[in-house]
């Protein structure tokens, strides 16, 4: 059957036959890097057009429909426009940091790609602390935003960056705690182990209400962490014009833009991996025929399907809700999400010890 792991294995075998082991490794590294960058660009294009279409339909509009069939090449046209645009650096800006910030945002987003299992046995790096790696590296994101806000020498940017700092540091907690519930249940930090632990059912079904609560908390927290509406205070168009990227233009702006979308993809991929079984197909108990049909669907389709479903949910939030105020945002975290997820973690731990889950 056609699958990503077969292709990867074929390439590996072919390279092993034709080159020496060191060369094979180097070529494989380069191929992986190119694949990540390609995925990056592809995701940017797909997610931008997806967001524009989703928002348009929710807003009783048609959305982009001029470039390409049904407007599907609109984001490509936008990219070309952004590439040929002049990237301005403001006069009073700290030039080094100003130019560095978008690259840090990109690098963080790329690093986060490493432990994600895109299909069955298809993973860049199956390290044994995959989940910890993700939550650790994603915190670096805030540095790029703070850097951008500070270096721009603009008060709006600075305020956006400060808001973003407070916000990401707070929401990191409940995101981490809801990830921990799954770690407790599956007993492993490795992404592949967590996925295999869901072979007999996804955690969201196996884990009763506590995991459902953890899932909702996770979605809210990652929406906040990726600075998406209703938590887009760092950008807050109507308050801070564009927040931390007010002064950015051209490709540097595009990098921030891309990093935001790739981050959304990554957190949704993590959510799909932890709660919805990653590339695991949907199985119902002893319905053998049904399960076989589900198995026939390639694992990559399962993974991307789940991820894009979560992305859609986050977009759905964005185009429905008004923005929170900064104090309400922090209230929500410290007064509601954090206590709830702490108690929830306690319950899940008890559940795991007493083997109450399926």
């Amino acid at each position: 059957m056609w699958s990503f792991s077969n292709i990867a294995n074929n390439i590996h075998a072919w390279l092993g036959n034709n080159f020496n082991p060191t060369m094979t490794l180097v070529i494989e590294m380069v191929l992986a890097g190119v694949a990540v960058i390609g995925l990056f660009a592809g995701l940017g294009l797909v997610l931008v057009i997806m967001e524009r279409k989703v928002s348009a339909w929710m807003q009783i509009r048609l959305g982009p429909n001029r470039v390409g069939p049904k407007g599907m090449l609109q984001s490509l046209a936008d990219t070309i426009k952004l590439i040929v645009k002049e990237g301005l650096t403001p006069d009073g800006a700290d030039k080094f940091l100003f130019n560095l910030a978008p690259f840090i945002a990109m690098i963080v987003a790329m690093l986060l790609m490493a432990p994600i299992a895109f299909a069955k046995d298809f993973q860049l790096w199956d390290l044994n602390i995959g989940v910890l790696f993700v939550s650790a590296v994603s915190s670096i994101m805030v540095i790029s935003i703070l850097m951008a806000g500070w270096a721009s020498n603009n008060k709006y940017s600075l305020m956006g960056a400060m808001r973003s700092g407070a916000q990401i540091v707070s929401y990191e907690l409940s995101a981490g705690l809801s990830i921990l519930t799954i770690v407790v249940l599956s007993g492993s930090l490795s992404v592949s182990d967590i996925i295999y632990s869901q072979a007999d059912g996804w955690w969201i079904f196996k884990g009763h209400i506590p995991v459902l609560i953890a899932f909702v908390t996770f979605i809210i927290a990652v929406t906040a962490e990726t600075n998406r509406a209703p938590f887009d205070l760092a950008e807050a168009e109507s308050e801070l014009t564009a927040g931390f990227h007010t002064e950015y233009s051209g490709m540097k702006f595009a990098l921030f833009f891309l990093a935001e979308y790739v981050n959304v993809f990554i957190v949704c991929a993590i959510g799909a991996t932890l709660f919805l079984g990653g590339w695991m197909p949907f199985h119902i108990g002893s319905w053998e025929g049904f399960n076989q049909v589900m198995d026939y669907i390639p694992s990559s389709i399962w993974f991307f399907g789940k991820t894009f479903f979560l992305i859609f949910v986050i977009m759905w939030f964005r185009w429905t809700f008004p923005r929170l105020r900064i104090d309400q945002l922090l209230n929500l975290e410290w007064k509601y999400l954090l206590p709830i997820s702490m108690i929830n973690l306690l319950i899940v731990t008890a559940m795991a010890i007493l083997k109450w889950h399926f």
Binding site: Q59, E239, W319, P322, Q328
Partner: protein
């Protein structure tokens, strides 16, 4: 005028909101003193769209000056024209035919709904919810289509002239208005679902920008801004003009004084406007739509003041005539100007994000403020 230093001597940050800013919906310039996110002082700098309409009107005849006033508060263009036409009629001592009166009231109320629709969408957009903006435009567009059919323009109609209205109603008018009201009633619950009932929205609006009744009076607030604080200020009720005293409608009053109260006043006012239209739409009297007036209008020497309730509050037109064909001095008492003056008072101590909510619920239209 732009502050060169970024901070005050006390170390507070000074930030320029505007003249180009997404939340000001025009070219309002606010110089804000901030302590962190907390507002200490808001100082409006006006005049970016000042055209000195009052001076322009001094060289225009009594027929001509009315069209300029459409450009003041462009969202209540009919009411502005209405006030001017009424003032000139007062000077000429012309009675306008009943049909024209009914047409004027109908048009004013339709404009009020259209204005509030736009405000609703724009305010939700200020708070970060983009979708209601487009939904509001669906209803607003159908009003604009009605206007376009009867008056020939969608925004700056110049439909009300001294002595009545410029054209008769379009034959489709009644049918189109009824269709609009049907659409509106079908969609009204979405306003609650999308915005009013939303918990985030309510938290953003409640206890934000509280304006007490005494302050509302002292600052000269009118319209929904004053009525949100419980101050009865509806000119249609207090000093009825045209046929408003024969109509059944309530003056919408809320007592909260906060942004949410002002919001609710406007939402409920739309329903009152629908009520007025329902009473009138089947009872438009037959007859002339205009009293014939002389080609060149001359007002007697004296002073004339007339006021109407626009979507934003009380618009007063004060004409001083020397007996000639042009006004000697004309003053527009615009509601937005007085409503803006309260912004500094109510925004002290609140967060920067609240300022947007306050500006939204004061419903500032910049050409109305600058004139």
């Amino acid at each position: 005028m732009f502050e060169e230093v970024g901070t005050t001597p006390e170390g507070d940050m000074i930030i320029n909101v505007g003249p180009q800013h997404p939340a000001t919906h025009g070219v309002l310039h606010l110089v804000i003193t901030l302590n962190g996110e907390t507002i200490k002082k808001v100082e409006p700098h006006l005049g970016y769209i000042h055209r000195s309409i009052e001076k322009m009107c001094e060289s225009l005849s009594y027929r001509q000056f009315i069209y300029v006033t459409s450009r003041m508060d462009y969202l209540s263009a009919h009411m502005n024209n209405h006030a001017c036409a009424m003032c000139v009629e007062k000077g000429l001592q012309v009675e306008i035919p009943p049909r024209a009166q009914v047409i004027r009231v109908l048009m004013s109320e339709l404009t009020r709904i259209a204005s509030h629709e736009l405000w609703w969408g724009a305010m939700a957009m200020d708070l970060g919810a983009f979708t209601p903006f487009f939904h509001a435009f669906r209803e607003r567009e159908s009003i604009n289509d009605i206007m376009e059919e009867t008056c020939g323009a969608r925004l700056t109609m110049n439909y009300m002239v001294p002595g009545g209205v410029m054209h008769d109603l379009h034959p489709n008018f009644q049918q189109r208005v009824k269709a609009f009201m049907k659409l509106y009633k079908k969609k009204i619950h979405e306003y609650d679902e999308m915005v009013t009932g939303n918990i985030i929205f309510q938290n953003r609006m409640k206890n934000v920008g509280v304006l007490s009744a005494n302050d509302a009076i002292s600052y000269g607030c009118t319209g929904p801004t004053a009525r949100g604080s419980g101050v009865s200020s509806d000119i249609r009720k207090l000093y009825p003009y045209e046929i408003y005293n024969t109509l059944e409608f309530d003056e919408v009053l809320e007592t909260g004084g906060d942004s949410f109260a002002r919001y609710m006043v406007r939402i409920r006012e739309m329903q009152q406007s629908i009520r007025i239209i329902e009473q009138l739409i089947d009872n438009i009297p037959e007859g002339d739509f205009q009293t014939k007036t002389k080609a060149v209008l001359k007002l007697p020497k004296g002073e004339f003041y007339s006021r109407v309730e626009t979507a934003r509050g009380e618009l007063g037109v004060y004409i001083v005539s020397e007996g000639g064909t042009t006004p000697y001095r004309i003053k527009f008492r615009s509601p937005g100007f007085s409503n803006l003056s309260v912004l500094n008072h109510i925004s002290k101590g609140s967060k920067l994000g609240d300022l947007v909510a306050m500006m939204g619920t004061l419903d500032l239209v910049i050409p109305d403020i600058d004139r």
